[in-house]
Symmetry: C2
Subunit: 390 residues, 2 copies
């Protein structure tokens, strides 16, 4: 066996060689029928309505809106959200922040902890060119962040994350004051509390989500008390998702909403009981697929879980009453229910079970205007932060 | 809202702008400790042993070996397999075939149906520069393939896929002769039978896998009889996976093995009862992660299911007895079991539940020689066909 590492294998080849050729497979102006499959497709008309509905909600409720861009990973979409009134976006990862900054997004909150020193150096460097905030939940994290920022001569806003019921990251509410004090003691800017309850988002009944957010609000109040007791003030509380944002907005303690999935609405969110009084959103993200094998009993699609993520369950079939069964990495299996099976070569539109990791599988969005039936390709938008879990 | 489709958003931006910068985060010569997380890491010493074991098995059993490159999506690895004796590789998708051909792989079998005319034109074009085979399971597929090949003036080998128990693609065994006849009648080269039993691979007990392959072999014999009855001969039967290849090799009807996962061995395959008499393989693919949040009860890793696929279950933790719980897209949660929880910032190596879709999340492999503890980065290898489900 040859030794690896010879010149043709070097890092520059990590750029897929035929990406430009691939991207031409759908061109602006093409009819929808010409989009080859599988393809990640945005129904732009539906997305625009979702975008406007959430912007209106935030404005009418006097809330700052900072949508979570971990969902779409697109600088183009982030800029549309900001043009519609968002103050900026959230991301989860340093690499996402870099990719969106490269795409012209200038106000970014990494709503997650960064602990690796190499990454903190990147955070500090990025803060020299965009307005940047980051979350902390440990004294070590604060200390390392302060060192990195000092070395770079830059400035970041720091949110203390509290665990409001998710059971993942974040300090307890009563420990918030002490950690906020550390932030200030290290010469960093304490910007407020990161208080997101992820698990609340998919509790199926609205009353369950309301109760979960009531618990979160109680944690926020306790954290605020602990900050006040330590002699500081808490400038902002930020959090909320598409399943719960009405409750955070009504709480009187949250000042900023981080919902992201409202823009695309996946099958998992659509399975929630609607929140009374909240704006409703439409499916705006689809995987276009086609039947590539057909028997009397089932049809096989050319899209499997390398085309749509199944961590939140299987996709549903748009506009047809068919059962979708997992056909593994490259295939989906359809069985008849109320609708007859489509024929070999026919198009089938899938609604992903979970938008975020589905988007992360694709290099670009095919953006359609005029509907999935008779519309045309309006643009291709890169998924700028695809794969940027770094 | 601005209209989309303005020049800065065009298709060329589908190339992530900062990929070269990102790829430098691990450099050949770096110690393992310097690899930033999450990272997809190959233990090259283990991979070489796996590679040699399967090559030896195929040689000693007089079998052709055509490993499935849907698993690794890497032209570099495909070339290593071919240098070690493989006749070529399989892929599932036209885009994968193109990406590997671009990387210098010259003998490729698309072991799957292609039905879209635009894709068939690409198949026919690709056949002008590499030795190419493709599977069919419908008269329409044969007809369209013949048209595309005729238009391009190229030549492809055609395998008739039969359903040997998977219940997905493929005609019934008794229909093989008629479809093979169609292949010949359209002036195409009939190369034999594609007979892969995917569902057999993860039946946990060896006896269950043996029984499933006995069923597959019976289907192959029936298909061969149907081909003979139609006055043709069947040049080759190809199939088999990492969970079952010993049985196909012993069958007397299969001539070519398509196993792929043996090279990396994921947690799901390791959960199988070993096949008596078959070579054993080692874990050679890992996701390097680190603790980015820590409480008394749990540690949170910086790798979630945007870094490792969970369709075949959660990853296991290498070398430590810890429970891994799903922390969603960007986080993994560890709880203590036999081992104590790692500290904030400590490295944790994950063994993916399923290699194939895990690899498909990453742009490159960080290839380590000398072991995960004290080794060094030997190379970065691009995942050439990442995202190439087209």
């Amino acid at each position: 066996m040859n030794r690896p590492g010879s010149p043709p294998d070097d890092a520059r080849k990590a750029e897929p060689e035929s990406a430009p050729a691939r991207a031409t497979r759908a061109r602006p102006g093409d009819p929808v029928a010409a989009i080859d499959t599988p393809a990640l497709v945005i129904d732009l008309d539906a997305m625009r309505r979702n975008l406007a509905r959430m912007a209106t909600f935030a404005r009418e409720h006097g809330m700052r809106l900072r949508p979570h861009a971990k969902m779409h990973k697109s600088a183009t979409i982030a800029r549309l959200q900001i043009e519609a009134g968002a103050v900026g976006v959230c991301v989860q990862k340093t690499g996402e922040a870099e990719a969106l900054a490269d795409g012209g997004v200038h106000d970014i909150f990494i709503s997650n902890e960064v602990i690796a020193e190499a990454k903190l150096a990147r955070v500090a460097a990025l803060a020299q060119r965009v307005r940047l905030a980051v979350a902390v939940d440990s004294a070590l994290g604060v200390q390392r962040l302060a060192q990195a920022v000092k070395a770079a001569g830059s400035k970041v806003e720091v949110f203390v994350e509290i665990d409001v019921g998710q059971g993942r990251c974040g300090v307890s509410a009563t420990a918030a004051g002490a950690l906020a004090h550390q932030v200030l003691a290290h010469g960093l800017n304490f910007a407020g509390l990161q208080a997101y309850h992820g698990r609340a988002q998919h509790l199926r009944e609205a009353a369950q989500r309301e109760a979960a957010i009531a618990h979160a609000v109680a944690q926020v109040r306790a954290a605020q008390a602990s900050i006040t007791a330590a002699g500081m003030r808490c400038p902002l509380v930020t959090g909320a998702g598409t399943g719960s944002f009405l409750y955070e907005a009504a709480s009187g303690v949250y000042g900023e909403l981080q919902a992201g999935s409202y823009l695309f609405m996946d099958r998992d969110y659509a399975d929630n009981q609607a929140t009374p009084g909240a704006p409703q959103f439409e499916h705006a993200l689809f995987v276009k697929s086609q039947v590539m094998s057909r028997s009397a009993s089932h049809a096989v699609l050319d899209a499997g879980h390398k085309s749509h993520a199944i961590d939140s369950g299987l996709p549903s079939v748009h506009g047809l009453d068919l059962e979708f069964a997992n056909g593994s990495d490259e295939h989906g299996i359809l069985r008849p229910r109320g609708s007859a099976l489509p024929a070999l070569g026919e198009t089938v539109w899938l609604i992903p079970g979970h938008c975020d990791p589905t988007v992360n599988l694709h290099d670009h969005y095919v953006v359609v205007e005029g509907g999935l039936g008779q519309g045309r390709v309006a643009a291709l938008w890169p998924v700028d932060a695809r794969g940027r879990s770094d």
